[in-house]
């Protein structure tokens, strides 16, 4: 342990503790900007400067450790002046058109400028303007980048994709794709983790809300929206609601207020995915000796599919051919549901709300449209875009009455809900796989063993006497580790679930942003709670699912099901 004082307060911390951490523990606030714990501790912004007694030079609190006897001050005039100057410097190269910024009121730089009472700048503005492909799901605005390097670090250290890099040196030092390649050629998985870790509005998703509002205003269009499981665990955060207050009913009501004609639950098509994928697994297991490909990988995460296609293309055919819940929903909406409504499928405008930026890519893949009425899913919005639309619809959550999803494709089970947490797809699939094999349900929590927050988890489960070796990974860095083991023959799994974002969709790149907080676990827990309290916890017991097979799809893996609900990811354009 080392002893020191901070602003006169005695602290005793473990050796190796940073000044920032020691101050936080002592309840003393030191502002930070570029700092991201364990990911970006590089002391680049020089905002967290503190003064050490006897030292002329100020030091960064975020990456310097407390030494024995150190006398630290976080509030001297020298500190104030330097901190303010550095924020002024950053602002001099930051395009602060805050009113039209996606991160207005959720921006660390804006907060800092406000906290430091910076209301005018002594310096000339120099805004960097670099071109960008605005058709890509991830948009970078060089004018708002403050070169904190967080995107680079997250992409390197967490996702191991190395899409971003520092380019040039000296005053032209900037951030861009590695070697300035166009983002479409950068092997970007479009996971959006760089967006959720950006302190400003330099990174954001492509704004597709205008297109949706245009469809809503079009009287000829029947605009339907599906809402993914993980959205319900996070949407309330931006309205200051606790997880208990932010009910599914309020979410449905608020979404309807935007002007959608029908509000559905992706949970329904998650159950449908389980029916198809669970049977596919069962089918492959029975054909193991006939050369079925193992391990089988889940395919519902398009970030993961993009990763697979660019990094391990030789394994693409190991992906489950079952489409993701988003795409199954779109295919069903523009076929089965059009029949139910007795309308031309071409009049349906199908929107999804996803915790995800890669879903924008997925719905744009030409090879995924099978309903025969244009794109199966016309637009994929992120949770953040939905929230912005709710806000612009002047939704008053205090007075809003809860509402139900529309039917029949708005009914889902607890098994579908947990798709939004890492391990959830695996768990839901195993619940039904046992039923498919034995005709009997296992206990709903029998496979809780695959839950957890470790990046890579494994379990061997028994399905009607067959041992199935399963693994779950979230975060593409972990995915790469697992894939290397698979490729090197170090492991021998039958079924692997991978989600591109750490913690799964709950921590998705399209979720609300809270600088410095990682909320995937907490949101995931909410999903498990919903599952626990659900009447229905097995996908195959969903009456809407039973119904759609009876009336339309016949049975899992039927010809019709194959036509609408399956795809070959190897054929997808990147």
């Amino acid at each position: 342990m080392v002893n020191a004082t901070i602003n006169g307060k005695a602290v005793c911390v473990e050796k190796g503790t940073t000044i920032l951490k020691a101050a936080t523990m002592a309840g003393i606030k030191i502002p930070t900007l570029c700092f991201l714990e364990e990911i970006n501790e590089i002391g680049a912004c020089r905002v967290c400067m503190v003064e050490i007694e006897g030292k002329d030079h100020l030091v960064a609190a975020c990456n310097n450790v407390v030494e024995e006897g150190m006398v630290i001050y976080t509030n001297t005039t020298k500190v104030f002046a330097a901190r303010r100057a550095n924020v002024e410097f950053i602002l001099s190269q930051h395009d602060y058109h805050c009113a039209t910024c996606v991160r207005n009121q959720n921006c660390s730089l804006q907060d800092l400028a406000s906290e430091l009472n910076i209301i005018e700048l002594p310096y000339e503005q120099e805004i960097e303007r670099q071109p960008w492909d605005h058709s890509f799901p991830i948009i970078r605005d060089s004018g708002k980048c403050i070169k904190c390097m967080r995107c680079i670090q997250v992409c390197d250290k967490i996702q191991d994709m190395n899409v971003w890099d520092v380019v040039n040196t000296g005053k032209r030092t900037s951030v861009n794709t590695k070697e300035n390649v166009p983002i479409r050629d950068a092997d970007c998985a479009a996971c959006g983790q760089c967006i959720t870790h950006c302190p400003t509005g330099a990174l954001r998703e492509r704004n597709d809300t205008i297109q949706v509002m245009r469809a809503i205003r079009d009287p000829k269009k029947v605009v339907i929206v599906q809402i993914a499981p993980a959205v319900r665990a996070a949407w309330g955060e931006s309205f200051g609601l606790s997880r208990d207050e932010a009910t599914v009913g309020k979410m449905v009501a608020a979404t309807r207020q935007i002007g959608f004609d029908y509000v559905f639950d992706t949970d329904f098509s998650a159950d449908l995915t389980i029916m198809e994928e669970g049977n596919e697994l069962f089918d492959r297991l029975s054909k193991r000796d006939a050369g079925a490909k193992f391990p089988m990988f889940t395919s519902c995460c398009p970030g993961w599919v993009r990763f697979m296609k660019s990094q391990y293309p030789e394994y693409t055919d190991h992906l489950s051919t079952a489409k993701s819940p988003q795409q199954m929903f779109g295919a069903v909406a523009k076929s089965y549901y059009a029949q139910v409504l007795d309308i031309d499928p071409a009049d349906i405008f199908c929107v999804s709300v996803m915790p995800c930026t890669a879903k924008k890519y997925e719905c744009d893949v030409p090879q995924v449209n099978d309903a025969g009425a244009g794109k199966d899913v016309d637009v994929a919005l992120t949770t953040r875009e939905l929230i912005r639309m709710m806000k612009s619809a002047q939704v008053n959550l205090e007075t809003l009455e809860e509402q139900e999803f529309d039917q029949p494709i708005g009914l889902g089970t607890g098994a579908g809900v947990i798709f939004g947490a890492t391990g959830g797809v695996m768990e839901a699939a195993l619940r039904s796989a046992v039923y498919f094999a034995t005709g009997k349900n296992p206990g709903a929590d029998d496979f809780a063993i695959v839950r957890g927050s470790d990046g890579i988890r494994e379990a061997t489960v028994d399905i009607a006497g067959t041992k199935v070796k399963a693994a779950v990974a979230s975060g593409l860095g972990n995915a790469r580790k697992l894939m290397e083991q698979v490729r090197n023959g170090e492991v021998d799994y039958d079924f692997i679930e991978i989600m591109a974002c750490p913690g799964g969709c709950a921590g998705g790149g399209g979720q609300p942003i809270h600088d410095g907080e990682e909320l995937a676990c907490e949101r995931g827990q909410k999903l498990y709670d919903i599952d626990k309290n659900s009447q229905l916890r097995f996908s195959h017991e969903n009456p809407a699912i039973v119904d759609i097979y009876d009336k339309f799809l016949e049975k899992p893996l039927s010809h019709k099901a194959h036509q609408l609900l399956h795809t070959r990811q190897a054929d997808w354009e990147l």
């Binding site: 190796g16 501790e41 590089i42 002391g43 680049a44 050490i52 006897g54 030292k55 002329d56 030079h57 030091v59 990456n63 310097n64 450790v65 030494e67 150190m70 390097m149 890099d165 520092v166 380019v167 040039n168 040196t169 000296g170 032209r172 030092t173 861009n176 590695k178 070697e179 300035n180």
Partner: protein, 613 residues
């Protein structure tokens, strides 16, 4: 009003002088990895600020060049811009009135030619060439990329054993490098910006002197691969390759033609600079990894390279530069004309050398010449002089060595080119005749050439002439085996592979020509990695050492601690080591001068510590 005034330096002038002084130091410590085009632009602006403004090419032209370079840097340029830059620079160079203008343009031209690819990258790809790599200066400059800030921090913390273990991750010759490394690591030390480079070699000396070398265990070795590697030459390069290959699980056999290991460390560097017992520390440790050694075994005589190729899975040729360059002037075949290589070899073989009463003349200006001269002093010569065709400042020997020689009474005859050797009737040397030279135009390496001065030849009476004009490589046997050579040097690719000869690798002096020990070590390390891959493996070399967090020192300018030497009058009478280690107090101060570029600056983002290779 006085008719004349004494020129006084006013405050502005003295501040400007200080600023320029600081700027010079900053330039010395130019961080590796900066954009050369950007640097060129910045320099050009300095040049332009120096212009008096009288003449058009300098006043206007340099400004226009700046604009064009700005266009390149700001993505507004085309290839036509580059042509225009060259065109304009040429015209400024040929028409500016004074050096301020024409040399500025000359510098631009050198840049456009020297780093044209960087210009083109900015023009075509809108970015600097390569990725953002701003390596730590000392680590980058060290050919073996030793973790210097790491071992300085460990030395500061008095974890000497850990410091040595960390060094050995990249270099199994910590003691050799602590005593005689040419320390290129210090060249661009960022500390130069504040005062002067950290004494890195001196700190390493403290580490190895403080460490319990005998009891540091050998790192865990990889499982035996069953592969066998032949290493030709037991010098620093061969032994380095052997050390790392052993750790990787390959069995190495070192073939050494001399009776003992060490190569030029033993047979080229005299004991007083590198005491033999200290050399043994490194060799003993390397041998602990299980290297097999065959002494007195010369390839081409005792065993052929073809045989090695047959018997081993891979072969590393690291035979060094063991022979002398031919000295061919009238009378050079006289008695007592001895090549430096032979003299130092005899010293290494522990043959007694006695020059009692002799006047010794050494020809050459490199470190080997200094070694010969100082050996002659210790062999009780009556007088020792060094004859060199250029000026003292053009000598390639390190200034410390030159100063050491002078302190020990060696006399320098500079701007004297050897003309002929005068011998008596018995054929014994009696004098060296030299032709005085005049220092003239610079050669391609930036050293002034010397040419015959309009002066009469000089007679330097002497009894012994030691010729230290360079070393050569005995590569005939390898040529006969079909290995490509150029100027007797073995030709390899950058990975040490001999082209067209699968499984044959080479490195060190026999590839680079006579160079430094650290370069030879680095070549051995490179060869080890590539031989490992050639054998179908990818073993990693790492070390489990935690680097202490940097201490928060104020970076106030402070003097560099230099290593002291034993008193010249005392040391010149024996062959014992001459250099003293830092005191504990000095070590503490000097280690605290390290700016810890692994932590401060870019090291925390990119180009920082490499934990393994």
């Amino acid at each position: 009003m006085s008719r004349l005034t004494v020129q006084m330096e006013d405050r502005a002038a003295s501040a400007t002088k200080n600023m320029i002084q600081e700027f010079q130091q900053r330039i010395v410590a130019n961080p590796p990895g900066t954009c050369p085009v950007d640097m060129q632009l910045a320099f050009l602006k300095v040049c332009h600020a120096q212009s008096c403004g009288k003449c058009v090419p300098c006043r206007v032209g340099l400004g226009q060049l700046e604009n064009l370079l700005e266009d390149v840097m700001n993505n507004r340029a085309t290839m036509h811009t580059l042509e225009l830059i060259e065109e304009a620079a040429k015209n400024i160079e040929t028409s500016a009135d004074c050096a301020i203008g024409f040399d500025a343009a000359h510098m631009v031209l050198l840049g456009v030619q020297g780093f044209r690819d960087d210009y083109i990258s900015h023009i075509q790809n809108k970015r600097c060439i390569g990725s953002f790599e701003q390596p730590i200066p000392c680590i980058d400059r060290c050919p073996a990329h030793v973790d210097i800030p790491g071992y300085i921090a460990l030395t500061e913390a008095e974890q000497y054993d850990d410091a040595v273990r960390l060094i050995r991750k990249d270099n199994p010759f910590p003691t050799a490098c602590a005593l005689i490394c040419e320390h290129p690591c210090e060249e661009q030390c960022r500390r130069n910006i504040i005062d002067s480079a950290v004494n890195i070699r001196g700190i390493k000396r403290s580490a190895v002197d403080g460490a319990d070398l005998e009891n540091i265990p050998v790192p865990p070795k990889a499982e035996s691969t069953g592969k066998r590697v032949a290493i030709v030459g037991g010098g620093p390069s061969g032994l380095t390759a052997a050390y790392f290959l052993q750790l990787m699980g390959h069995q190495c056999t070192v073939f050494e033609e001399k009776p003992k290991l060490g190569g030029m460390l033993r047979y080229g560097i005299p004991n007083y600079r590198f005491p033999r017992e200290r050399l043994q520390e490194d060799i003993d440790y390397i041998l602990k990894t299980g290297v097999e050694v065959k002494l007195n075994a010369r390839i081409g005589k005792d065993i052929s390279i073809a045989q090695l190729e047959q018997d081993y899975d891979a072969t590393y040729i690291a035979i060094g530069a063991q022979t002398d360059k031919k000295f061919d002037i009238e009378g050079s075949d006289s008695n007592n004309v001895v090549s430096a290589v032979n003299l130092l070899r005899d010293v290494g073989l522990e043959k007694p050398i006695d020059f009692t009463g002799k006047r010794v003349c050494v020809i050459g200006g490199g470190n080997v010449a200094m070694d010969c001269a100082r050996t002659a002093v210790r062999a009780n010569a009556k007088t020792v002089s060094i004859v060199y065709r250029r000026q003292e400042k053009d000598m390639t020997a390190s200034p410390v060595e030159i100063r050491g020689a002078i302190e020990e009474g060696v006399e320098l005859y500079t701007l004297q080119a050897p003309l002929r050797v005068e011998a008596d009737e018995k054929g014994d040397v009696v004098a060296l005749w030299t032709q005085p030279q005049i220092s003239g135009l610079y050669d391609r390496n930036g050293r002034p050439k010397s040419s015959k001065a309009d002066k009469e030849p000089v007679r330097i009476p002497c009894d012994v002439i030691l010729v230290a004009i360079g070393q050569d490589i005995e590569s005939e046997h390898y040529e006969e085996h079909g290995i490509e050579t150029k100027w007797n040097r073995i030709v390899t690719d950058e990975g040490g592979r001999i082209l067209g000869k699968d499984g044959l690798f080479s490195g060190g002096d026999c590839v680079s020509g006579p160079a430094t020990v650290i370069k030879a070590i680095a070549a051995g390390k490179v060869a080890a990695a590539n031989i490992d891959e050639y054998l179908g493996f990818k073993h990693e070399i790492s070390v489990d050492v935690d680097i202490p967090s940097p201490l928060m020192n104020d970076k106030l300018p402070s003097g560099r601690i230099h290593l002291t030497e034993r008193d010249a009058n005392e040391r010149k009478c024996d062959f014992e080591g001459i250099e003293n280690c830092m005191s504990h107090e000095e070590m503490k101060q000097e280690t605290a001068r390290c700016l810890r570029c692994d932590h401060y600056g870019c090291g925390t983002l990119r180009g920082g510590r490499e934990l393994k290779w």
